[in-house]
């Protein structure tokens, strides 16, 4: 996803990552972000329902997660309690989008980084399958309504779709002989035996001695953080500086697959051996595909016919914190008489590409001459930390 930015690139934003090498070691790393962190302002001054309808149009690549976060923040502001079936249905849609994004990273971005052919056809089929989930829960009704839409789930069809999705995702990610992810020996045996584009990146990392490359000791953002802290920070974020350079109770933090799955047996084992290096991070991504599918299966049982809930208030403040493919996404809204007065969005990229965040710390001091090229190694680390925009990587050797 290396990028040469033009004018439209200016709107969608980008990361420019400058790396300097002295005597074979990375001596300096700088991240310059040109992302529009104030995009929440586009929603301000609009009726609440109109503003929410805009979210999937602005963020149509992660539109489900952004829309869900927006709905939940508005529902909190208007004192609406979403029913458990409606919550499960939204979780299902957010997980489906996260699965597609995660598999994309593995099958398209990792091989592209290494100069290999990506598996675009596999992703196309997966996307087609995932689209069936929404129809099997909401029929033809739009799902993105405040208080929830008319939910009419077809559990048999949903299970059937998830089974096929699981097969397709496993083929793309693991090849024809998936390892047991609760068993590190099975994982070790699996490495090096697949010729799929995704596993090839892990083979490269292992074979080139890059398992611990990019290790950092940045704190992990909790998957269920203190929403009161975020509400206070975002309510006072007049100049958008917190959205641009977030912290969690004063700590620079990392979010995403690794923090989310740090207690998984395989991820924990990889971390014991290689710290937070590349093999642990890429391994966490593989585990995530399996984890998302397991969650999707579990939510089927929480679904039932449900008409949704109506709003009784017209003003208030609300916050939502949801887990997305790239990490924790926060929306905060202030509503006055059904008009959005203020809106703030805090995206995962701002944590992981913070000027003192895990990318900077992971590259600083790294051996520049391991593996084939620093360009490839740094590219894999950037993709493992999963920015939601393109990046330009410039490496200068003195």
């Amino acid at each position: 996803m290396r990028d040469t930015q033009g004018k439209s690139g200016g709107i969608e934003g980008s990361l420019r990552i400058e790396v300097k090498i002295d005597a074979g070691v990375v001596s300096n790393v700088q991240v310059c972000s040109r992302r529009p962190v104030d995009s929440g302002a586009l929603l301000e001054g609009r009726p609440v329902e109109d503003a929410l309808d805009l979210l999937p149009r602005i963020f149509s690549l992660c539109g489900v997660a952004q829309t869900t976060a927006g709905l939940m923040a508005v529902e909190r502001a208007l004192a609406i309690s979403l029913t458990p079936p409606q919550t499960a249905a939204r979780q299902m849609l957010v997980a489906a989008e996260a699965l597609e994004q995660t598999v994309w990273r593995i099958a398209v971005d990792w091989p592209t980084c290494l100069g290999m052919r990506p598996d675009v056809a596999g992703i196309r089929d997966l996307r087609r399958l995932l689209r069936g989930l929404e129809t099997s829960m909401f029929n033809a009704t739009p799902w993105n309504r405040i208080g929830g839409s008319h939910l009419l789930p077809d559990p048999v069809e949903l299970v059937k779709i998830i089974d096929v999705v699981a097969q397709q995702a496993a083929w793309i990610v693991f090849g024809d002989a998936a390892p047991r992810l609760d068993n590190h020996e099975s994982f070790d045996r699996w490495l090096g035996r697949q010729h799929r584009p995704g596993p090839a990146a892990l083979d490269y990392v292992r074979d080139q001695g890059l398992a611990a490359f990019g290790h950092s000791q940045v704190d992990f953002l909790p998957t269920r953080p203190d929403t009161g802290f975020f509400a206070q920070q975002l309510a006072n974020d007049v100049d958008w500086s917190f959205c641009a350079r977030p912290h969690y109770h004063g700590s620079i933090s990392e979010t995403g697959a690794l923090p989310r799955l740090v207690d998984h047996p395989l991820v924990s084992r990889l971390r014991d051996r290689h710290g937070n290096g590349l093999l642990t991070r890429l391994g966490a991504r593989l585990v995530e595909t399996d984890d998302l599918i397991s969650k999707m299966r579990s939510w089927v049982g929480d679904l039932s016919d449900d008409p949704g809930t109506s709003a009784h208030h017209a003003s208030g403040q609300g916050i939502s914190v949801i887990d997305t493919a790239r990490g924790v996404l926060v929306h905060w809204v202030e509503i006055a008489d059904n008009i959005v007065d203020r809106y703030r969005i805090l995206a995962p990229t701002e944590w992981n590409f913070h000027p003192r965040g895990p990318l900077i710390q992971g590259l600083q001091g790294a051996n520049a001459h391991v593996g084939e090229t620093l360009d490839k190694n740094a590219g894999l680390l950037i993709n493992a930390l999963d920015p939601c925009v393109g990046y330009e990587l410039n490496i200068v050797e003195h």
């Binding site: 996803m1 004018k7 149009r57 990229t349």
Partner: protein, 87 residues
């Protein structure tokens, strides 16, 4: 925050197309699309490399108005706003 800026298809070459947005041309892959594209269609890109969705022209028009609004908020040295016309 992966913004979905509508891009107009201006040329088709097998599984790649040339799209234009805000005066900038990009060559992108259409391998993810199961429906055919024609010149004049509006599409959404992922990471400036792949077409991920075809857009209804009305939705594209509305989205471009929004992105023009966002453009106004950005730095003065980005001159895309004055160069773009909505479909």
């Amino acid at each position: 925050m992966c913004l979905a800026i509508p891009s107009k298809v201006v040329e088709i070459n097998d599984d790649r197309v040339i799209v234009e947005r805000y005066g900038e041309r990009l060559e992108v892959n259409t391998g993810l699309m199961s429906e055919p594209l024609t010149v004049g269609d509006y599409v959404v890109l992922r990471a400036r490399t792949h077409v991920v969705a075809k857009m209804d022209p009305q939705a594209a028009r509305e989205a471009l108005l929004l992105f023009n609004e966002l453009a106004e908020r950005l730095a003065d040295d980005i001159e895309f706003k004055s160069n773009h016309e909505a479909p």
